[in-house]
Symmetry: C2
Subunit: 213 residues, 2 copies
């Protein structure tokens, strides 16, 4: 399960963005809409709550045969038997997380510059999150990078690069035109009136462009 | 390193309680004052910060040959090579933490009732935190238990029971009289004008009473 090479649409199931919507409903909708991978993110949850949420979502993602990645907590990812962990720059360093999770689980790393993206690859990241491309309430502390570095990162880094940060149906083509083939979204699906339709729309656009390359 | 049987004074090196005092200075003072074990607690730290703090304190505790336990994060404890983890009721369940940390590292569990203490022992806790005995700003959500259950817990549970919660020089004898032989303290050392002297005072009282039993 260490390949992310076919991902185009990565949906982050985020408790805060989901509001009162149940996470399992959201996950199921995103998958029906074509998500290739899901990430569980719940910054406010205790480890125990996160573990319970992870187990509930794993029942869904396993049926669909897509990976579930846990945000931040390598211990919860291991305890839940999830498919991997996604690390921010303030989380455990990648080699330490790898030691805990072993060679078969996926480890993704958030990066905010060309240098960080190259460093994440060198440290053994299976995929590299790159952003925030646009302003986003999820990362208020980070200056948006814009689309200008998407091409340079994609040519510098061999591992899959997943663009993230404020990407939605309205600006996705701009991101694709800049060289992106994979995106991660939070609000564009979690806060959509119809998450399944929103995911399907994004996926269709990504697939159409992929076919043209 | 799986014995806590000789602990009498367990000092929690807590970033919030320490204020501007450097944690390594505090740890060294607590050890000189007679602490048998230290716990690193920094609820506001990122995993990476906590890992760095853990590594700094481990350099000190290893020289002193006493264990360093990490609050909450089994992944950080494992990554740092610390001697164990301390779990609250909202943290990872004990069996999951044990799977991550293996049989040789210590796992402590916070408990707030006789039932929780018995359950923690059954789940394989190496030691059991019991409290809060008195009101404490560290656990504002918990009703203080008082000293009445210290005796019953000590006779029901075989693993070492460490009483915690608002214990200081002024009320320690009350806790000892109720049957406690081990206590954990936060502010009584971390926020003391002289942490080393404060630890030494508490330790002397615990040792004196232990000799009398």
């Amino acid at each position: 399960m260490r390949s992310c090479s076919r991902w185009t649409l990565y949906v982050i199931v985020d408790r805060a963005a989901a509001g009162s919507r149940p996470l399992d409903e959201l996950a199921a909708g995103a998958i029906r809409g074509g998500a290739d991978a899901l990430q569980l993110r719940d910054k406010a949850a205790s480890a125990r709550q996160l573990l319970e949420e992870a187990r509930r979502l794993l029942a869904i993602t396993r049926r669909a045969r897509i990976p579930l990645i846990i945000n931040d907590r390598a211990d919860v990812a291991a305890a839940a038997g999830a498919d991997g962990v996604h690390l921010g720059q303030d989380d455990l360093p990648l080699p330490e997380a790898r030691r805990l999770l072993g060679p078969r689980r996926l480890i993704g790393q958030s990066t905010h510059s060309l240098e960080q993206a190259a460093a994440a690859e060198a440290a053994g990241a299976d995929y590299i999150g790159f952003g925030p491309i646009f302003p986003t309430p999820t990362k208020p502390d980070y200056e948006p990078i814009g689309t200008g570095l998407i091409g340079p990162v994609a040519s510098r880094v061999r591992r899959p690069v997943v663009c993230i940060g404020g990407i939605d149906r309205g600006n996705l083509e701009q991101v694709i035109d800049a060289g992106a083939t994979r995106v991660a979204v939070v609000r564009a699906v979690c806060a959509a009136a119809d998450p399944e339709a929103a995911a399907r729309d994004l996926k269709a656009l990504l697939t159409r462009h992929a076919a043209r390359r």
